[in-house]
């Protein structure tokens, strides 16, 4: 927030802040009138105070279940084009097996929304960028389809669209010639909803995915991250992804 924005505090903004302050007062331990980290107004920009993250519990993730992948495809309008080798892939299920112990587990892998994203470092046009709240996105208006980011990403999280796209979801514009990847369902997150994959996982009864603000100590995800051991994939690269895995 710049100083100008504070100076121009509208009556509505003032009321909202007052309400949040009043509501933030604890009525009883753990019970508040209004959650402080409530919905952001549409005219308000994404906040630097927030760091969106995803915690995936591989112990709960069911092998063979791909509800999250299906939900992602439905939400974002990703359809099979008959070219499976080059079809865009925003999220995939990975089955892992420890050869010594024979222990198997399964987990979804998508854009890890790094704090220091290599895709942003290499992008020659500035199309690949990280939003203030930690969501890594591609601005298709300036993407030239050079695919440097695809090569730079250690998680293989990005794809390029080779085919014409029709019947897009009005909230998720997609088209030929641009690179794309998981957006953490930014259009839903901005309206205070959960990403489609998280919703689908809960609907299937697995509850293996938790979405929330890692910076908010009251959020479920922050509390779980503080309580249980979780890891980041390729933590050695020190990219500090926002997606964390439990039980890997």
């Amino acid at each position: 927030m710049s100083a100008d924005a504070n100076d121009g505090l509208s009556r509505r903004g003032f009321l909202a802040i007052s309400a949040a302050t009043l509501g933030g007062v604890m009525l009883a331990p753990g019970i508040r009138l209004i959650e402080i980290a409530g919905a952001r107004a549409p005219e308000q920009a994404a906040s630097r105070q927030v760091r969106w993250g995803l915690l995936i519990d591989t112990n709960k993730c069911a092998p063979g279940c791909d509800d999250c992948v299906k939900a992602c495809a439905t939400e974002n309008g990703i359809k099979a084009t008959g070219h499976p080798r080059t079809d865009p892939q925003w999220i995939r299920k990975v089955e892992l097996k420890d050869l010594r112990s024979g222990r198997t587990h399964s987990a979804p892998v998508m854009c890890q929304h790094c704090e220091h994203p290599p895709c942003v470092d290499v992008c020659p046009t500035g199309a690949s960028f990280k939003r203030a709240d930690g969501i890594v996105l591609v601005d298709r208006h300036s993407c030239i389809g050079c695919r440097y980011c695809i090569m730079a990403c250690p998680y293989k999280a990005r794809s390029i669209v080779f085919q014409e796209v029709t019947d897009q979801n009005p909230d998720v514009p997609r088209g030929k010639g641009c690179v794309e990847g998981c957006t953490l369902c930014v259009h839903r997150v901005d309206r205070d909803r959960q990403p489609a994959c998280v919703e689908a996982c809960a609907k299937a009864g697995h509850n293996a995915m938790t979405f929330g603000d890692l910076n908010d100590p009251q959020s479920e995800i922050a509390q779980r991250v503080a309580k249980y051991a979780s890891t980041q994939i390729r933590a050695d690269l020190k990219l500090n992804p926002g997606v964390r895995y439990q039980g890997l």
Binding site: A46, F129, Q168, P170, D171, R174, K176
Partner: protein, 125 residues
Amino acid sequence: MPLRGLMRLLACLVLALPALALAAERTPKPVIIIDKPGRCVEDTETMRREHPDMLKHQRDQTMREGIRTRQHSLKECVQCHASTNTGSVLGEKGFCQSCHDYAGVRIDCFGCHASKPKLASGAKP
């Protein structure tokens, strides 16, 4: 037979007169069909002149900062201006395409953006 030739020429001229008079209307004019009457977000003159800038400004704010106001968003344009016949802003008589064809300006928007509003059944606030 010069007289007959002259007559023929005259006849041709007489026949061609209405066509010449209509010559001014031979240029195809854009078809602007507004199915939902009511006020646009700005007045017509401003919209005609400034809509590309408005859309560009809004797109950067939405994309980069997550500001999702509806005032100048392309999604809202489509929502309101999609034809009731085709359900789209594209097509020969589509609100966007008709004018853009006339002006000879290519619209890139709908390579990625939906040219049809979200179906009512799947409508979300």
